[in-house]
Symmetry: C2
Subunit: 148 residues, 2 copies
């Protein structure tokens, strides 16, 4: 059970409109529209962002923004951040479900002394990533900090 700790809450609203076949348009007010569709393995066309992509993208991008938040709190600088996110979908009792997320992140910092600090910011980002924490499947992390 989830225990709500304060009155602070935020609401996010999106809209999806079907256009044709298995394709539709995703709209968030005041933001660029995105064409979405079922992926090829579920009879959709090639080349269009799928709900499955969005699921993995939500966790991967949240890891980035949470990492940035911790670097600001810790007052550390980094030169680059990139993260590959992999989501595994498996057939379970009730159709399909994501059973695993793997985030492989790479951060570049200017000096050796920043390496353990950036590693700590990545650990904390993994722990407090609100999107991963809202998903049933476990998230594995492979964090890599280099000086460059």
């Amino acid at each position: 059970m989830v225990i709500v700790m304060s009155e602070e809450s935020h609401e996010y609203q999106v809209k999806v409109d079907w256009t044709h076949d298995r394709v539709g348009t995703l709209s968030v007010e005041g933001k660029p529209r995105i064409q979405i569709s079922a992926p090829p393995e579920f009879d959709g066309p090639e080349g269009i962002i799928s709900p499955e992509d969005l699921f993995v993208a939500a966790a991967t991008s949240c890891f980035m923004t949470t990492f940035i938040t911790f670097t600001k709190k810790m007052r550390i600088e980094f030169k680059s951040f990139s993260c590959d996110g992999y989501g595994t979908l498996e057939r379970v009792e009730k159709g399909f479900q994501f059973t695993k997320l793997l985030l492989k992140a790479k951060v570049t910092v200017e000096s050796e002394e920043l390496v353990p600090k950036a590693e700590r910011a990545m650990e904390l980002a993994g722990k407090y990533c609100l999107v991963s924490n809202s998903m049933k499947c476990p998230t594995e992390h492979e964090n890599n900090v280099v000086v460059g």
Copy 2:
């Protein structure tokens, strides 16, 4: 515990590259790139798709594609489909977490006899939506089928 029922699995890969401030680029191979950032309430700029938007969008768009799959299985036609998705983020023990999703969907069909069939397809889509089923929070549905 999740019981895996078969060898069938699918993998989804995305990449996020930090560009500046709390902003980055989301890439899925062969698909359009999307700019992403922390939302304004978490110190990001206005007008850019956030991880929180992506989370709600994943469930809302998956409900659409799953609905379409059931209409094809049931061999029923529909004239339009749209769905508003609302995600509620609340502060819990470990930072924030999505605690509720609400999907308000509207489907238009050509005749009265198609109404209960479309309603059934929406029910099944809610039950088998693989993205919602991969999230911890409950998903509420308000389904509306009209003749038009």
